[in-house]
């Protein structure tokens, strides 16, 4: 049985592979399809002839239909046969069909055969779209030729060339249904080469329409030569890929999976590895894009091209828009076909009209656009009129994404902004980026447009109000279009992109107030993502650095919007509520910084800090410590002081704490304490100072990121005995911090032995403010009141007792009045926000402000 057709199953597979090799499928894949089809023809004929000799049968005609009918047969494609019989004798057919099919099936060929009479064929072709399209490519194989001629003549005359518009309508519906199945983003990554958007089936559809409408099989005859050449190239490419798909998987495999992408790329002339795959997929997307444009163009012509009668009628309905363009049937058309050649800037006017009148251009105008692409030169690109019109399209923001897509489809965008052609069809070989860079960029513009139109108002009210606040959304749209433009080149795509955007902006004649934010946004378009998802947003330092990078509120808004559009345009699953929350938190905290003006004023920027540190520190030390030093700290001290502090910080790894001082004018001293931060440290220090009758005039306390506490006090002692008192203070503090003696005991002891009494001074009323508005990270406690020895100890002790961790403090004394500011958090590192707690804290602090009787100190003088 197996040798019935003179070949074995394995022999056949072998032949296919050999054929593929000798033809070198990637140079001329079509030759392979033809040869393969010829080979199958001879097998089918042999099977047919054998069958006819074995069973008595009526006269029949054997036809090839579908893709096989076109004599374009991929290695494992279906083989569809049609057995035509004249009228009767239907019952004799099944044995014949069996005899034909079995040997072919034994060879592993995927053959199916239907048997119909001519009348049945015609009837079914009228009602069934698939039978109709199968017949278009029908081809005579063997048997009664007369039957074939008969059927074919009737089919083309009575069915194919009639009701072309209905046929186009049915195909359009079919196309949309088919694409819907492949809408899943996974198919964008692993596309189906036959059924997917811009796949081989789409091309077939276009061809069918041409057959029906223009009565020709030469599809290229109705296109521009450039256009048909590039289409032919796209087809050859898809065929080459499909042949390999089939041969490598040994079956009809049309899904271009990741695994197969990797295997196929090198077989059709791309480099091994990711680069080759990405380039192949780029070609793939370009090819399917062209085919998709082709089929839509052809369908549109068939659906909307007015009949002669209507054309005559429409002459009356025409409306002139200006001297170059007119409107008819809701379509924009060009009055004089040579307008663009004579005056290229009208191209941009055309798109502007499309936006203004909210209509599309007719296909002839589209053709005129494509034909005039060579006239887009540097003069066009730098023309003030052209660029202004382009910006006004973007600025208006209505249907801008749709127009950009049209510009791209017609090849106009890549001529106008040549840098954009670098990212056409560019793909990432990963699971995350669903769309090639060019479609991703246009989708990003579309997302911004949707946001602006209020489509996301319910889900994302903040983003919606932000985009509506923007004065010039056009700049943001243009940035979204160009944000990934650096992806065409090796290296950091944000930085390359920023360079290119600078160049593009200059060419377009953009003022620097618009160009600068664009360059900034492109170079930083991943900053917000990196900060929001990978940094601690509870850390003030993180927000501050981010704010310094972003520079101002306007850029922050645009960056947030761009980040949203960028992620949303990656794919339907990329943008999640989770990401939304983190980005929103980062935006709000950073915005608060700008609104309070707290970014630029008290702190130095990253560069200024580095410059300052370089004055007295070695690069090694800077790189070791720069990240640990909070900006608030860095802004308070000179580089020499910081250098000294770093030395101190190094020694406290061995010692518990270090105290240094400089005495000024015999009665005042600047005291620096360095130790590891611990809970209640500040009150222990102020307590020890109190013990030694050191009056604190000012204090600055800072905690480094690594937990090193660096506190500076300016103290006063009227007795000129300050050196001795400071020595004693150091001893006491060591005892207290090490836990040797509790502060409470020491205080009690000394107060007893000294019997100190309080000097009487004029009363100043106390005031406590608890502020939760001015910082997202700390509760700010502001205390003003009467100064006296030990007051700072009492306040800080009260704060500590109340569960407040002091992170930063500024103490100052004005005459007999103190003004102290404390930045505190609770023991969990959160702000103290509950009203009950803040009220109690306020009360406790107020209670400490008037002089108390419990601890009274006698003034020694």
């Amino acid at each position: 049985m197996q040798f019935e057709l003179g070949v074995t199953k394995n022999g056949l597979i072998h032949t296919k592979h050999r054929m593929a090799q000798t033809i070198s499928t990637h140079s001329s894949p079509r030759d392979f399809l033809r040869q393969h089809s010829d080979m199958v023809d001879s097998l089918v004929r042999k099977a047919f002839q054998n069958a006819q000799s074995q069973v008595s049968s009526p006269s029949v005609c054997l036809m090839a239909v579908g893709g096989y009918g076109k004599a374009e047969l991929a290695p494992y494609s279906d083989i569809d046969l049609l057995l035509l019989y004249s009228a009767s004798k239907k019952e004799d057919l099944p044995p014949l069909v069996e005899k034909i099919l079995y040997p072919l099936w034994d060879l592993g060929l995927d053959v199916s055969c239907s048997s119909r009479s001519i009348n049945e064929c015609l009837k079914m072709a009228q009602s069934d779209l698939h039978i109709k399209t199968g017949l278009i490519d029908g081809r005579y194989l063997d048997g009664e030729y007369e039957f074939f001629r008969n059927l074919y003549g009737l089919f083309t005359r009575k069915i194919l060339h009639r009701k072309v518009r209905d046929f186009a309508g049915a195909l359009t519906k079919d196309l949309h249904l088919r694409h819907q199945k492949y809408e899943d983003p996974n198919y964008a990554l692993e596309p189906n080469i036959k059924e997917g958007e811009g796949g081989l089936r789409d091309f077939q559809m276009g061809r069918w329409i041409i057959r029906a409408k223009y009565k020709t099989d030469r599809w290229d005859s109705i296109l521009f030569p450039d256009h048909s050449q590039s289409l032919e190239k796209s087809l050859q490419f898809l065929w080459a890929v499909r042949n390999q798909l089939h041969l490598l998987s040994g079956r009809r495999q049309d899904d271009l999976t990741f695994e197969l992408q990797e295997k196929i790329a090198p077989t059709i002339g791309f480099a091994h590895g990711t680069e080759g795959i990405e380039e192949m997929m780029r070609q793939y997307h370009l090819a399917t894009q062209r085919i998709s444009n082709f089929v839509h163009d052809i369908l549109e012509r068939a659906l909307y091209e007015p009949s002669l009668f209507k054309k005559a009628l429409s002459f009356l309905q025409r409306k002139k828009i200006d001297e170059n363009f007119g409107m008819a049937y809701g379509e924009l058309y060009l009055l004089d076909p040579v307008t663009f050649k004579r005056d290229p800037p009208r191209l941009m006017t055309l798109f502007h009209h499309c936006q203004t009148y909210q209509i599309k251009m007719d296909f002839r105008t589209e053709e005129a656009v494509m034909e005039s692409l060579p006239f887009i030169d540097d003069r066009f690109r730098t023309s003030g009129e052209v660029n202004e019109t382009f910006f006004s399209i973007l600025k208006k923001g209505e249907r801008a994404a749709g127009l950009l897509r049209k510009m791209h489809e017609l090849g106009f965008l890549s001529r106008y902004i040549p840098e954009f052609s670098e990212v056409e069809g560019k793909v990432h070989y990963d699971l995350y980026h669903v769309h090639p860079v060019d479609s991703h960029s246009i989708l990003a513009v579309e997302e911004l447009e949707k946001l602006r139109r209020g489509l996301y108002e319910k889900e994302y009210p903040l983003l919606t109000s932000l985009i509506r606040e923007l004065e010039n959304p056009g700049i943001l749209f243009l940035t979204a279009l160009l944000h990934d433009i650096g992806k065409g080149r090796e290296g950091n795509h944000s930085l390359i992109g920023a360079e290119w955007v600078e160049r593009i902006g200059t060419r377009m004649g953009l003022a620097s107030e618009y160009k600068d934010p664009m360059v900034f946004l492109v170079s930083h378009h991943l900053s917000m993502i990196e900060t929001a998802f990978r940094r601690n947003l509870q850390d003030e330092q993180v927000i501050l650095h981010f704010a310094q990078k972003v520079k101002n509120l306007n850029q922050l808004k645009m960056l947030y919007l761009l980040t949203f559009a960028d992620i949303k345009a990656v794919g339907p699953e990329a943008w999640t509520a989770w990401k939304n929350t983190l980005l929103m938190e980062l935006f709000l905290k950073t915005a608060h910084f700008f609104e309070r003006g707290a970014v630029a004023e008290p702190f130095l920027t990253g560069d200024e800090i580095l410059q300052k540190l370089r004055e007295s520190l070695s690069p090694e030390i800077i790189s070791e410590y720069a990240d640990r030093l909070p900006d608030r700290y860095l802004s308070c001290y000179s580089s020499a002081e910081i250098a000294r502090h770093i030395d101190m910080a190094r020694s406290i790894e061995k010692e518990l704490l270090l105290v240094e001082w400089e005495i000024e004018k015999e009665i005042q001293a600047k005291v620096t304490v360095c130790t590891k931060d611990r809970y209640g440290l500040f009150s222990k220090m102020t307590g020890s100072m109190f013990l030694n009758r050191l009056n604190i005039l000012q204090a600055q306390i800072h905690t480094w990121e690594d937990g090193t506490a660096l506190d500076t006090f300016w103290v006063e002692d009227g007795t000129k005995d300050i050196e001795r008192r400071l020595q004693q203070f150091k001893k006491d503090l060591k005892k207290i911090v090490s836990g040797e003696v509790p502060l409470r005991d020491l205080l009690f002891e000394r107060i007893e032995s000294n019997g100190i009494k309080q000097k009487i001074i004029p009363r100043v009323s106390g005031e406590v403010k608890i502020n939760n508005q001015d910082s997202d990270f700390y509760t700010i406690v502001e205390i003003a009141g009467e100064d006296r020895l030990g007051i700072l100890y009492e306040i800080t002790q009260a704060l500590t007792d109340h569960g407040c961790d002091i992170h930063f403090a500024r103490i100052s004394t004005l005459g007999n009045r103190i003004v102290d500011v404390f930045y505190v958090q609770d023991e969990w590192g959160e702000k103290i926000e509950e009203k009950q707690k803040t009220d109690r804290l306020k009360q406790i602090l107020l209670n400490r402000l008037p002089p108390r009787e419990g601890i009274t100190l006698k003034d020694h003088s």
């Binding site: 009210p461 947003l537 590192g829």
Partner: protein, 112 residues
């Protein structure tokens, strides 16, 4: 065998992942999750409008490990995920009856 599930702060994911890889953990499942515990959400105000963050974004890590490794894995996660502040997250440990690798049909420890 035990299943270890940890809810951590998002920005700690890289640290925890690297620490786990270092001690030889081969794979884990990571999910973006939202929720609240002692650390409640909050309301942010911008230009007079309130924006509520009621569920806080966290990351959930799930992995299966042999009995001997359990303590080490837990300690590693604890150390790497800790900031000492509220909302550092939790670690849950569950007993696992069986593990099957679908491709090969391997069971038990071999399938981890």
């Amino acid at each position: 065998m035990k299943k270890i599930e940890a809810i951590i702060k998002p920005f700690k994911l890289d640290e925890v992942k690297n620490a786990l890889t270092k001690i030889g953990v081969q794979g884990m499942t990571v999910t973006e999750v939202k929720g609240f515990g002692r650390q409640k959400g909050h309301t942010e105000v911008y230009r007079g409008a309130e924006y509520k963050i009621d569920f806080l974004p966290k990351v959930k890590i799930e992995l299966i490990t042999s009995e001997e490794m359990v303590t080490q894995v837990i300690e590693t996660i604890e150390r790497a995920a800790k900031t000492g502040k509220i909302g550092d997250g939790k670690i849950f440990i569950f007993p696992v009856e069986e593990v099957i690798r679908i491709r090969t049909g391997e069971r038990g420890r071999d399938a981890i």
